[in-house]
Amino acid sequence: MYRLRKALPGYLFLLPSCALFAVFMFTPIFRGLQLSFQQWTVSGYEWVGFSNYETVFSDAFFWKSLGITGIFTVITVAAGLMLSLAAAFAIDPFKEKTQNVFKAAFYLPSVAPIVIVSIIWLWLYHPSFGLLNYLLDLAGLKPVLWLGDPQVALFSIILMTVAVSQGPNILILVTSLGGIPKDYQEAARMDGASLWQEIVHIKLPMLKPTMTYLVVVNTVGSFQVFAPVYMLTSGGPNRATTTIGFLIYENAFKKFDFGIASAQAIVLLAIVMIVAIFQFRTMAGDLEY
């Protein structure tokens, strides 16, 4: 009784948020699992066992969209983090004021709503009056159907995503770099290490925990990409940009096939979790030294 009384205030402070989390986040996760074993029609639902999963796995479009999502994720995460890392190393040596100006300039595009970013990039990519084709024309090159060519469209979405979403990555990496004790650098310099050696042997290893975190967070985010696809291509042309996130949306809210959409969502969740755990394991494996 005494223990409960002592614990009570702690629970009471948690109650409102935990109730909301429980109803609007945890319940849906379990309901999603349940839905993936049901088939929904106008008259109601029936339990169908694993048949949704069988349908999903035998669907060529599902595998295609998984492949597209995989390509999207690998390229956006790898290219994005490499650019962010380069930017962070370039920003690091400057005084705080200069650093802040660059941080702000790179971060602003990431707080802009994706709908607005997409509207602007639709202009950049426009086949007849877009800026990119105008620049190609100036350079004497042929225009590109940025969003209309199945071979190119996915890369156009990747390009936009990489360009506008590096703000948080850069901020986090600059802060991590700033946190590396100056003694290490000085010691390395005294021993005659070149700038390159200093980066490879001192700074990169010290950044490893941060990089692990960023790889995982960026991967989880990239796997779910939806709004850019919705805004730029609606999954086309010829389904070349139908990512798994967009496929789930189509199945649930265009075809109202909630069971199939839920099964696909569960598969997506499983993949994301496996990848995240795998990344933590491999990248954090030798953290303790």
Partner: protein, 275 residues
């Protein structure tokens, strides 16, 4: 010699960074500029970047439509909900996790934090059906209830409140302060920096959100600015009008960003970089 070489590298770095920043910001500048130009200006090649012939005709047309006002007030309601919900409810949770002791604390905390890792798509379909069953679709409840709390805000406030000395709370208790007064009169004032951060993040995240408002609302007058703007873009060939809408939607975010840049930078790094 060595110093000079590093200076040279720094200069190159400065030039490359500046070019990259200008390239990234240019499209936003173009958007803002074109929204003050005649509609045909946006589709000119070469791009019309002159400052001549500025006009507010696009904004007049935009604000003459009732829907822009409805969408804006919907967005304000949702963003304010995200802001106050996160600040009040999540800071209470953060306080409990940081300063209270009770059975099940660790499990609860990790359960909440792990939501950050689950994909939105998993929650979307069942949440939509749940709202449909509760007959809440197309109402403010559907837009607001799921966004009042966020795991990120709980995590941030907990991290910050850890650093508040326990003696302060103990002293207040001896003076006979109630639990709620300790929280409200002592913890909240001290935590203002983190609460401001959580509030700004909550506002911006909800102002910018697209997927859930798209799913949860059907009628045109329940749409938020983002969803309304997307439908405008998909139906409209009037580029001046669409770009004016985009500038309209971006303006509050840009203003918040310029005013509270410090908080954005801190908020992003506090969650990721171990101090």
């Amino acid at each position: 010699m060595a110093i000079r070489r590093i200076d040279g590298l720094r200069l190159i770095g400065f030039i490359v960074l500046s070019l990259a920043a200008v390239t990234l910001l240019f499209p936003f500048y173009w958007m803002a500029l074109q929204s003050f130009k005649p509609p045909t200006s946006a589709i000119q090649t070469p791009p019309d970047l002159s400052w001549g012939g500025l006009t507010i005709a696009n904004f007049k047309k935009l604000t003459a439509d009732n829907f822009i006002w409805i969408w804006t007030s919907n967005s304000l309601i949702v963003a304010a909900g995200g802001m106050f919900g996160n600040v009040i409810l999540c800071s209470m949770a953060g306080y409990s996790f940081a300063k209270k002791d009770f059975p099940g604390k660790r499990i609860l905390f990790w359960a909440i934090v792990s939501i950050m890792m689950t994909s939105t798509q998993v929650i979307m379909v069942p949440l939509f059906m749940q709202m449909r069953d509760m007959h809440l679709l197309n109402t403010y409840w559907a837009l607001l209830l799921p966004i009042l709390v966020s795991p990120f805000a709980v995590f941030l406030t907990k991290q910050f409140m850890h650093t508040i000395p326990g003696e302060l709370i103990a002293a207040a208790k001896i003076d006979g302060c109630s639990e709620w007064r300790i929280f409200w009169n002592i913890i909240v004032p001290i935590s203002m920096p983190v609460l401001a951060m959580v509030g700004i993040f909550g506002f911006v995240t909800q102002w910018n959100d697209f997927l859930w408002p798209l799913l949860a609302t059907e009628s045109r007058n329940m749409r938020t600015l983002q969803v309304g703007l997307a439908s405008m873009q998909l139906q409209n060939v009037d580029y001046g009008l669409v770009l004016a809408g985009a500038t309209w939607t971006m303006a509050p975010i840009a203003a918040l960003f310029i005013a509270f840049q410090r908080f954005f930078v801190k908020g992003i790094t506090i969650g990721a970089v171990k101090g």
